[in-house]
Symmetry: C2
């Protein structure tokens, strides 16, 4: 079953709900109200109810949402109910940190291929993954990998994106401070860390 | 001059405009139309004009925006026209990558204090910054540092945030997959990398 009309902003919040639900489960909570979820996640109860109603999760009045059932539903909608393999391109400081990042497992995500252009890195095994030559990105086609992570300098990001798309990648998490031109069928989400930090001074009090 | 009514979403896009303008400057472009900026940034011309009008930047009909002048204005609004120092807490894989990240300079941001709880790291000099004991966060008060970056495990994030707030930090970039409870006067932006990656499978074609 697909849910074609879920807005991007709702999709953005679904993993947050999932995290909140998993937290409830850890605490032994079986049913959770939108108000309790709201307190956990700092998202309004009305927003939560609206988001969840998009896929028919209405909860039980006076009881709330069945945490296990709702978590399963959200995983299904996000298509993370089965494992998703990702290819990482760029094993510099950030790429290395991403490869070692422990947080992906909770969402069924796994970096199972790594590429770099540094002869000193190619062939090495890091976190059980063999570093491959970035010129071999086309081999992804045979590996059923649809997700790519770009952690290369901005100057190389577009050519890496082109190669990833050619190799069948359909979703890209991009850390390069660069707008990637890709076909419409490919979803790109960019995290420009410096740009996010650059927003914070705006909120500082004038005296600071 | 303060611009109190600029929506958060506009503030979020201002660094993007700045980056586009700097790119234009690099290419020797003196004036840029909202249409040209739109092509660079993949943001609609109407949105660009609306965002910029919030602070009275209307451009010249038929000419466009003076790139140097607009870049200066945006830096002023974001309060990144003077350098901003940040304290990094957590020198694990991600924290180390952040400390070495070359992208902050473009926005006048500098990590000028680093804290960790690992005795093996405390006292070391990394990127010209001496790693301090995380129990000494209160010393930030004397350093005129108002921005903090949290790159510690989720289990430690809240206590670090509490200590940062106590030490006068008013803006936090949080990488821990955890909702931080802070006073209203403190602005928190969380980048949960795994959660962002977890959104990508949703957009994959059903056959994938």
């Amino acid at each position: 079953m697909r849910y074609h009309k879920i807005p991007d902003e709702t999709v953005r919040r679904l993993p947050m709900y999932l995290r909140g639900l998993l937290l409830c489960r850890e605490q032994g909570v079986r049913d959770v109200s939108s108000r309790k979820l709201s307190e956990l996640l700092h998202i309004s109860p009305a927003q939560i109810r609206k988001d969840l109603s998009y896929f028919g999760a209405f909860g039980t009045p006076g009881v709330g949402y069945d945490t296990a059932k709702l978590a399963k539903q959200i995983r299904g909608i996000l298509k993370i109910d089965t494992p998703n393999k990702a290819a990482l391109v760029g094993l510099g400081n950030l790429g290395s940190a991403l490869l070692k990042y422990p947080g992906f497992g909770a969402y069924g995500l796994q970096i199972s291929a790594v590429f770099d252009n540094d002869p000193g890195k190619i062939g090495k095994i890091v976190k059980k993954v063999k570093v491959e030559d970035v010129s071999k990105l086309s081999t992804l086609k045979n590996k059923n990998i649809k997700l790519g992570i770009i952690a290369v300098p901005a100057s190389a990001a577009q050519s890496v994106a082109d190669a990833l798309v050619k190799a069948g990648i359909r979703g890209i998490l991009n850390f390069a401070p660069f707008y990637l031109d890709v076909p419409k069928k490919v979803k790109v989400i960019t995290i420009d860390i410096a740009m996010v930090l650059a927003r914070l001074p705006y909120y500082l009090p004038a005296s600071a």
